[in-house]
């Protein structure tokens, strides 16, 4: 335990800014998870690994000498097809089944992804240098990498674009209709199979964007996917499905929590704190609901 943060108010500003910018990124991943959960009723444990794969795509183009920021355009395009293929191979067989089957099946996919990424990209921690420099605030006492501001900006941009797309486009309407009632949508001529594939593809593309942003702001490693899955799961259960402003707010809240936990408990407990928070949130909601003799559904 280290309470330095309460003695130095500037550290608090630092942590808050870091947390909010990071949280926006988490919210983007969580939005993808809410989308597939709401539409297809599956929980994708491989979500975080899709994020990391997207990050490695951006890192690869960085190795080729292209600026990694282009990854936010290239990575989602590739990831969309990865998601589509994944749907056609495995996910379409678990859509209508028990949720636990989807959890276990995507757990298997996550292991495969981790290992393949380990083979292809190596087990080292890598980062793509964006060379955007840093912004100094408050008399040089708060440092803010410009890449983080860039990443938050891009996340917001994509989120807005997606919301507009979901509202206006034909596919967006089909997705929303399927989420409301898959059977009725099918009767009314929506090709639900295609909608599911597209949903999973869009989710993977969102992961690709987030991954590309993570490759320039944070670090990449083949085995760090699961914390991203858990974070997005947490954000979704706090915010609820299909409530975008709530997703954004709880994403930022999670970012803040993490940064403060990092300062107070120490970096070695950061991931542990995230997972513990998940348990605590679930338990809290369980007790709140059990007063009404209900349970989480």
């Amino acid at each position: 335990m280290d309470f330095l943060i309460f003695k130095a108010p500037m550290l608090m500003v630092q942590a808050s800014l870091d947390g909010i910018l990071l949280g926006i990124l988490f919210a983007l991943i969580a939005y993808g998870m809410a989308l597939q959960w709401g539409v297809m009723n599956i929980i994708n444990i491989a979500q975080g690994d899709l994020v990391i794969l997207g990050g490695y795509i951006a890192y690869t183009i960085y190795l080729w000498g292209i600026h990694p920021a282009w990854g936010v355009i290239i990575s989602p395009i590739i990831m969309f097809f990865v998601g589509w293929a994944l749907y056609k191979l495995v996910i379409n067989k678990v859509v209508d089944r028990d949720l636990f089957i989807s959890i276990l099946a995507t757990f298997g996919i996550a292991i495969v992804f981790q290992q393949l990424m380990n083979f292809i990209f190596g087990a080292d921690v890598v980062v793509a240098q964006s060379e955007y420099g840093t912004t100094m605030l408050f008399d040089n006492s708060v440092t803010l990498p410009n890449s983080k501001i860039f990443s938050a900006f891009i996340s917001v941009l994509y989120a807005i674009a997606l919301v507009i797309y979901m509202r206006k486009s034909k596919l967006g309407r089909a997705i929303r209709a399927t989420a409301q009632n898959a059977r009725a949508a099918k009767i009314l001529g929506v090709d639900t199979e295609k909608v599911y594939a597209a949903t999973f593809g869009i989710n993977a593309a969102l992961c690709g964007i987030a991954g590309a942003l993570i490759s320039i702001t944070l670090t990449l490693h083949p085995y760090v996917g699961l914390p991203y899955t858990v974070r997005s799961f947490m954000i979704v259960i706090v915010a609820g499905l299909g409530n975008l402003p709530a997703v954004a707010v709880s994403g930022m809240g999670l970012g803040l929590f993490e940064e403060f936990a990092d300062y107070i408990l120490g970096t070695e407990f950061r991931i542990g704190a995230v997972f513990l928070l998940l348990v605590l949130i679930l338990v809290y909601r369980r007790f709140k609901l059990s007063r009404k003799r209900e349970y989480l559904k």
Binding site: I43, V94, G108, R286, L296
Partner: protein, 354 residues
């Protein structure tokens, strides 16, 4: 108690004789056999939750890891300062005598059985109120959080791991260590099997099944579901803790995330083995674990480097195409063997309806 049939008696005594003779017959594979026993225990205890109660837990690894750390800590802490031991190379300065070693592991295993069970009881009320996938994700989080937190605690070795006391050097027989751990794990396996078999013949199992099939209705029938869920979890925790304690001694080195709270391997294995063999059956997890272990040991070396890819693909294939497991498949094929009577007329009528 129902009368044990003669056929069963032959089967069980045959298995026990095989189990007792195994370390002498397959002398080179003692470690593998110990693993097998522990895997079967883990699969059987997982089956109590996942198969019988319908609560798919990823959290039993918590008790396994806890048992591992507790046994080693008690074994060291009873005679030597624990902090100095774990700090660096304590095992070189402090040496357990033979008596100390066995006393330590005995008390350690006792603690590692009781404490996880108590913890399961303590957190059970909070966690078991969750249902379905929320429970699964929550326990997944619990297991990983435990690993991450254990990796930050200094007194049990933090990130650099914890070396468990080496087998006493005074025993010159080189086979002794392997035999000791094998018989320990075999005893645990027999104990677990008897316990689970007892549960299978009891009212307790029916209650667990009622919870699985419809918890609300079970509650409406006047069953205090929470009480039984907690007791069920405590039973699993008890045996998982023991399995972890034995495993820690066998491996000789405890790492927080790769050995003890190894959700990526052990935590998934136990689910997979139970599903492979068939959830909700007595023999399913045993067969599943045995098959899985043979498959793993046989293929692991052939596909070096690709084992996790194979594991992931295996999980997907089993879960997607084979969710009923081996016993489920057999049951569908030969229902008479499972004591199910099929009305041929009824069956034909249903086919016609289709």
């Amino acid at each position: 108690m129902e009368k044990v049939k003669q056929k069963d008696l032959i089967l069980y005594s045959g298995l026990i004789i095989l189990g007792l003779a195994a370390p002498y017959l397959f002398s080179a594979f003692k470690v593998q056999l110990t693993y097998l026993c522990v895997l079967i225990v883990l699969a059987m205890t997982w089956n109590l939750q996942g198969g019988e109660m319908g609560y798919n837990t990823f959290g039993n690894i918590l008790f396994y890891g806890l048992g591992m750390y507790l046994t080693a800590s008690v074994q060291v802490g009873m005679f030597f300062p624990l902090a100095e031991w774990t700090e660096s190379g304590g095992e070189k300065t402090f040496v357990h005598t033979t008596a100390q070693y066995f006393q330590g592991i005995g008390v350690g295993l006792l603690v590692s059985a009781i404490v996880p069970a108590v913890i399961a009881g303590a957190i059970g009320y909070a966690i078991l109120g969750l249902r379905g996938h929320y429970f699964a994700i929550c326990t997944l989080g619990l297991g990983i959080a435990a690993g991450e937190i254990a990796g930050g605690i200094e007194i049990i070795g933090a990130g650099q791991g914890f070396t468990t006391p080496p087998f006493p050097a005074e025993i010159v027989d080189t086979e002794a260590r392997g035999k000791f751990f094998y018989f320990l794990s075999f005893a645990l396996l027999v104990g677990t099997f008897i316990f689970v078999k007892y549960i299978y013949g009891s009212r307790f199992r029916l209650i667990l099944n009622a919870i699985r099939d419809n918890e609300d209705k079970a509650e409406a029938m006047g069953i205090q579901t929470m009480k039984y869920k907690i007791v069920g979890w405590m039973c699993s925790a008890f045996f998982c803790g023991l399995a972890g304690g034995i495993m820690g001694g066998l491996i000789g080195y405890i790492d927080s995330t790769d050995v003890a709270f190894d959700g990526r391997e052990m935590g998934v294995f136990m689910v997979l083995m139970a599903i492979l063999g068939g959830k909700g059956t007595l023999w399913g997890p045993v067969i599943g674990a045995t098959l899985f272990h043979f498959f793993k040991e046989g293929l692991w070396t052939l596909i070096l480097g690709w084992q996790y890819v194979a594991l992931g693909v295996l999980i997907v294939v089993i879960v997607v195409y084979f969710p009923e497991g081996l016993m489920g498949w057999l049951r569908e094929k030969y229902p008479e063997r499972f004591g199910e009577v099929i009305d041929e007329k009824d069956r034909k009528a249903q086919v016609e309806l289709k």
